[in-house]
């Protein structure tokens, strides 16, 4: 059946890409002396002392392909090396900081997509009318705003001027106390969800208050991306014959737009949302640094500044895998929506 072949082919295509990402990271490693690379294989602080012993163990001064083999076997075992910026193995650090970034994305992704599509459609319907120029102008402005500067400005207004309305960071002091207290059950480490599960509304509210600014920053930055694609695909769809036919069938404008035009216009938007996740990740790095929202992005920046190479490379590998998987999911979604692909 065509769809099954399509899925399997997409899965097979996944492997070379992942290998590619790993190769890039390995290539970057070659910039460093064996000593620095040894830090990759350290599991605990005391191991730092007998570095040369580690160099022999992982043949760090042998030809490249041998090192690659050992390095890969380590990576597959989950040992991405030791991050000196947070004094814990890279894999554990990844797990510790992931929930924060996830929480950020849970709110940003739906918001960006929903508003992006809505704006795209409205500005396409009212092409070249004031609404169109305004929305397009705003979207382009959003796209041109440097994420970190927008973050600083928002902080200046909502944290400085309105003194503490929407604070940076992840949780206020008292909420922090509650979360770290024994009674609080941390299922997912995503505070909004844990708060709900533990029925602690105050924690949820506090987490939300901290989320408002970073989420707005990320959304505004990536809005133009979705909106522009939506607008041009909507414009194209509106000129198609079947839209003309839908009107000739006597359907009212709302049904023509929502039922016939929107679904066809969504297809290109879906294919592109794979890139949205990538640009959100990039945006998150900057936003988390500005709001020192202790997520993956914040951690990667700290590691980069302190030249903590294993951490940065572990982060890049993780992000690469996440994005490749989301692209796969987006492809499958695309096949599901468009019957022409599904039935081959």
């Amino acid at each position: 059946m065509e769809l099954r072949a399509y899925i399997v082919r997409r899965l097979l295509l996944l492997i070379p890409v992942l290998v590619g990402v790993i190769l890039i990271i390995f290539a970057l490693l070659q910039f460093f002396s064996p000593v620095q690379r040894a830090a990759l294989y350290v599991r605990s602080p005391q191991q730092f002392r007998n570095l040369d012993q580690i160099i022999e163990k992982y043949h760090l001064n042998e030809p490249v392909y041998v090192q690659f083999f050992y390095w890969i076997s380590e990576v597959l075992k989950g040992n991405l090396g030791w991050s000196k910026s947070v004094n814990m193995p890279v894999s554990d650090a990844l797990l510790r900081f992931l929930p924060a970034t996830l929480e950020l994305l849970i709110f940003t992704v739906p918001l960006t997509i929903f508003i992006g599509i809505k704006l795209g459609i409205t500005s396409a319907i009212h092409r070249d009318k004031p609404v169109d120029h305004v929305t397009r102008g705003l979207a382009i402005a959003g796209y041109s705003l440097p994420a970190f500067w927008l973050g600083l400005m928002l902080l200046m207004i909502f944290y400085g001027f309105f003194t503490g309305l929407f604070p940076p960071g992840r949780l206020g002091l008292d909420a922090e106390m509650v979360v770290s207290s024994a009674s609080f059950q941390n299922y997912t480490y995503i505070h909004t969800i844990d708060g709900i599960l533990n029925l602690r509304l105050d924690v949820v509210l506090d987490a939300l208050r901290h989320l408002v600014l970073p989420v707005t920053t990320l959304t505004v930055i990536n809005l133009a991306f979705i909106m522009r694609i939506m607008r041009s695909s909507m414009l194209e769809t509106l000129n198609k014959d079947y839209i003309m036919m839908a009107r000739a069938k006597g359907l009212d404008e709302k049904t023509v737009i929502n039922k016939h035009a929107r679904r066809n216009a969504l297809i290109p938007a879906v294919t592109v949302s794979g890139y949205l996740v990538a640009s959100l990740m990039a945006g998150a790095v900057l936003t988390e640094t500005v709001f020192n929202y202790k997520g993956l992005g914040w951690w990667s920046v700290n590691a980069a500044v302190q030249l903590d190479v294993p951490a940065v490379l572990g982060f890049v590998l993780f992000i690469g895998t996440v994005i490749v998987i989301t692209n796969l999911i987006v492809d499958l979604l695309y096949a599901k929506i468009d019957p022409r692909i599904r039935l081959g």
């Binding site: 839908a246 069938k249 066809n264």
Partner: protein, 388 residues
């Protein structure tokens, strides 16, 4: 000149202009045309003469960036006469697809690729004839309720009664809140199944009338899974679903092969008899006109130059352009006669009669003032000073 006649549709002094970057294209400048009941009126002309624009303007849908500047389109149905162009949006939509419907040249483009054929045809039925189908669904529900009560399962009876309640509210008002809410709730959503079943029966019947093989199967297919001819039949089914008074066909067979074109032409002719509707058939192929049309209007550069009964027109073409068109028909052994010059650019069309730069009989008056439509025989009108 347009007296109160029993014509189905009267187009009076229709003017349409296109606002493009290169300037204002005067697509239609004063079209007067009448379509009688149960008649196939052909509109013939070369590319760019405005025949499609006329067709689309009848249901007030001039292709963008066109705009209807002036004119009336009078629809005479069961006693009352209304001007379609002046209708409010709501009433206009009631007419489109119900009283007047359309089929386009590219069948594959006229069908939405993401919906099944059955969906797209049922959509027209629900839009215009929802009462008849909801009543049918209600009758079937009544029968189910009795059967359920007889067999003693009161729960099923209760369920069917709630469905019946939703249908009754739908009857009262098409966008009843109750029905819209019900279609959101997973369990209650199943009330639509009864209506869909009724619609399915109707649509499959329609597809069978279109001589489509295996109509039951085609109902669930997507447009890209059908051949050109089948797609066009589905579009025709969609157009004739509500027994329209007038079917506008914009070159429906031009993109099809000759053998398939013959099948579609036969289909349109037979359905016209059976459904008793008029057809406005737009084409540039004189052979098709001779085969299917009763009366013919010849258009050139946004003006109608001649209207006549088909046999009369082929026997005695009066307007120089019509005569040139007939000359250009390739006949063996006679080589090809072409009309000198090219189609005028409609941003600043030639003054007076727009054919005068290419007309062998043009005189001074032709270039000053556009000739008016003159009666030149029984059911034969021509707009030319020197017709003979």
């Amino acid at each position: 000149m347009a007296k109160k006649s029993d014509a189905l549709v009267q187009i009076r002094d229709l003017v349409v202009r296109f606002y493009t970057y290169e300037g204002i294209v005067k697509a239609l400048s004063g079209i007067n045309l009448e379509i009688q009941r149960e008649e196939t009126l052909g509109v013939v002309g070369e590319t760019g003469c405005g025949k499609s624009v006329t067709a689309f303007s009848i249901i007030a849908l001039p292709p963008p960036p066109g705009r209807i500047e002036r004119g009336e389109v009078l629809l005479n149905t069961n006693g009352s006469t209304i001007d379609i162009l002046k209708l409010p949006r709501e009433r206009l939509q009631d007419i489109r697809g119900h009283k007047i419907s359309m089929i386009l040249q590219e069948p594959s483009a006229a069908l939405n690729p993401l919906f099944t054929i059955g969906d797209q045809i049922a959509e027209v039925l629900i839009r215009h004839r929802s009462e008849t189908f909801i009543k049918m669904a209600l009758e079937e529900l009544e029968r189910d309720i009795e059967a359920a009560e007889k067999s003693g399962s009161s729960f099923r009876a209760w369920v069917y009664r709630t469905y019946a309640g939703i249908y009754r509210s739908l009857l009262k008002n098409r966008r009843s809140l109750k029905a819209r809410v019900a279609s959101r709730i997973p369990f209650l959503r199943r009330y639509r199944r009864k209506l869909d079943a009724v619609l399915r029966k109707e649509v499959v019947g329609l597809l069978r009338e279109m001589r489509i093989a295996n109509p039951e199967g085609v109902f669930d297919l997507y447009p890209h899974e059908l051949s050109g001819g089948m797609q066009q039949r589905a579009v025709i089914a969609m157009a004739l679903a509500c027994r329209p008074k007038l079917l506008i066909a914009d070159e429906p067979t031009t993109s099809l092969d000759v053998t398939v074109q013959a099948q579609i032409l036969d289909l349109i002719r037979d359905l016209k008899e059976e459904f008793g509707s008029s057809v406005l058939y737009i084409t540039h192929n004189l052979g098709v006109v001779a085969e299917i049309c009763d009366r013919v209007a010849v258009m050139y550069a946004g003006q109608i130059c001649e209207v006549a009964e088909v046999k009369e027109l082929f026997k005695r073409p009066l307007h120089p352009y019509t005569r040139a068109l007939f000359e250009a028909i390739p006949r063996p052994g006679r080589g090809f006669v072409s009309i000198k010059g090219t189609v005028p650019n409609l941003v600043n069309p030639p003054p007076g009669c727009r054919f005068h730069p290419r007309c062998p009989r043009a005189t001074k008056i032709c270039s000053q003032e556009a000739p008016r439509m003159v009666k030149a025989g029984r059911d034969h009108l021509v707009a030319c000073y020197h017709y003979r």
